[in-house]
């Protein structure tokens, strides 16, 4: 027996929580991505053609969108959980009969929604820079959703683990930022020296971006199937970890 209403209510609460401040949680990251697009496109347009027939400006767009999705999917669950823990109102969701699965799924789904919303916003405002209609829309959608799922799970994990805002900030600055920036957002890793290429290949965010790009251009640095395997496995691993943390009551039920 599943407390579906409980899950759905928690999911809706998490949606409303960011939607009520959509200016900061959706509009701001879209604007940031637009600024990156303007600056990098202007600086690099004449220098590189990322793939044959794909201008650098166009190449940049899916990467920026995926990076914004990833960062915001992470931010959603993590900031909600740390706020609830620090202010203590987390008791109101610990007291009801919600299972770990209902709890995790609600936070995760809300994080994915925020990520996708930001992604759609970024694509909408940057499309004019020459983004083609996706050649494989389904691939693009799968990578967007799974990518948000990976970072959404990581957000839940960080939000539960962190006890103070500065611990969460450290997690964000030392793990999430490097992962998302060193992922081939701004360049094709084929152009990198071997060491950096190896580093990028060890980064799951690279596969999200590469797979997402494949959806738009029909070409990418690695096979979309390899990307799907890496991103899918990362999602399963991190989502199960989040589920287990919540199930065990780690740092939530003392």
């Amino acid at each position: 027996m599943i407390n579906f209403t409980g899950f759905y209510t928690l999911f809706r609460k998490e949606l409303l929580r960011f939607w009520k401040v959509a200016f900061q949680t959706v509009a701001a990251p879209v604007l940031t991505a637009l600024l990156y697009q303007l600056i990098f496109a202007h600086v690099l347009e004449n220098h590189v053609e990322a793939y044959p027939g794909v201008s650098y400006t166009a190449f940049l767009i899916p990467g920026l969108a995926m990076m914004s999705m990833a960062q915001n999917a992470f931010a959603n669950g993590s900031s909600s959980l740390i706020q609830s823990k620090v202010t203590g109102n987390i008791v109101f969701i610990l007291l009801p009969p919600l299972t770990a699965l209902e709890f995790t799924a609600a936070y995760l789904l809300a994080a994915v929604c925020r990520g996708l919303l930001v992604g759609a916003g970024v694509l909408a405002v940057t499309a004019a820079f020459g983004l083609p209609w996706p050649t494989h829309p389904l691939w693009a959608l799968v990578f967007a959703a799974l990518g948000c799922g990976v970072l959404g799970s990581l957000g839940i994990i960080a939000g539960i683990w962190a006890e103070k805002f500065d611990q969460l900030a450290a997690f964000q600055n030392f793990i999430i930022m490097p992962l998302t920036f060193l992922s081939g957002v701004f360049y094709s890793i084929a152009s990198l020296p071997p060491l950096w290429r190896a580093v990028s290949h060890a980064n799951p965010v690279f596969y999200m971006i590469d797979g997402f790009r494949y959806g738009f251009f029909g070409q990418a640095d690695v096979s979309p199937w390899l990307s799907l395997a890496v991103v899918g496995a990362s999602f399963v691993a991190l989502a199960s970890l989040a589920l287990r943390m919540i199930g065990s009551g780690y740092k939530l039920r003392h």
Binding site: N3, G6, L10, L95, P96, R253, H254
Partner: protein, 301 residues
């Protein structure tokens, strides 16, 4: 099945500190039960274990027959808890808060009951106000409403009247009394002992994690030092009565009476010493005295 809460051998340690030490007792359905104890006695820890907010290291707890660990859904469905700390979610209004809370308990449409709760708790006018905009006492009332959205048979209130004005305290207790009359089991902790004295049937006292008393209120009152008499005399207290003296209060000698008849002996001794009684009052024992005596007593024990 007539036990609302069944606590068996519950211990809880935080590092080297034993917050609960082998606590066992039961609360029957329909009881109005008080959990008393000084700061740090373990009251909140016990309530947290009961509610699944903390996990006991040993022992089991059942709420309406449901184990709080293995059968946590049914246990939590049966339980409404008002936490001690004043907490709220600043993102939402009072009504949203209550609608969400209903949803977590699996209740979709709960508007009629939410309206009734708002009315009973004097929150009707604040229904659409943001939680942030409420005074402390009003936030506390919302917490009471949150605990009741799913009409739990067992209601636990952890110091619900801390920081609440006299008027609200009274109306809150009237409401809780009403719930008790309607068959809900009530467990409360409070530092206002007169509240426990007027409202509760049975009282448990905790001290440093141990259960040191568990009695019906009347028995607890009766078995304590008995009555006391405060005497104002025309001269110093006769030596024969020194042994009975417990304290001196604004010029009066307060003597303990083992039984009402002992007053005869006291007065006889006064007469024998050639003294006059200027004033005499019998002091009724209240819960406060019992409480203080218990806490003092078990320290030496």
């Amino acid at each position: 099945m007539s036990t609302a809460i069944d606590i068996v051998g519950v211990s809880k340690r935080y590092g080297t500190l034993t917050a609960l030490d082998d606590v066992s007792f039961s609360v029957r359905q329909g009881e109005f039960f008080a959990l008393l104890g000084p700061n740090g006695a373990g009251k909140t820890t016990l309530i947290s274990a009961l509610a699944g907010l903390a996990r006991q290291d040993e022992g089991t707890i059942r709420v309406m027959g449901h184990d709080t660990v293995h059968d946590f859904r049914d246990a939590r469905m049966a339980l409404g808890v008002v936490p001690q700390e004043l907490v709220f979610d600043p993102f939402f209004t009072v009504r949203e808060t209550l609608v969400f809370q209903s949803g977590y308990f699996g209740i979709k449409r709960n508007d009629a009951w939410i309206d009734e709760l708002l009315f009973k708790l004097g929150l009707t006018e604040k229904a659409n106000a943001n939680m942030r905009a409420l005074s402390g006492g009003m936030k506390r009332r919302v917490m009471v409403a949150q605990a009741l959205v799913h009409r739990p048979p067992v209601i636990v209130l952890d110091e619900p009247t801390a920081g609440v004005d006299v008027e609200l305290r009274q109306s809150l207790w009237d409401f809780v009394q009403e719930l008790n009359d309607a068959g809900h089991t009530i467990v409360l902790t409070t530092h206002y002992l007169e509240e426990a004295e007027t409202l509760c049937g049975r009282i448990a006292m905790l001290k440093r994690g141990r259960l040191i008393a568990l009695e019906p209120k009347e028995k607890l009152l009766a078995q304590s030092a008995g009555r006391e008499v405060a005497l104002k005399l025309s001269g110093p207290l006769p030596a024969a009565l020194e042994a009975l003296k417990t304290r001196e209060e604004d010029g009066r000698q307060v003597l303990a009476l083992a039984e009402p008849a002992a007053l005869e002996t006291v007065l006889a001794a006064v007469r024998e010493a050639g003294l006059e009684v200027r004033d005499l009052t019998l002091v009724e024992t209240d819960l406060e005295t019992v409480f203080v005596n218990m806490m003092r007593g078990s320290r030496t024990a």
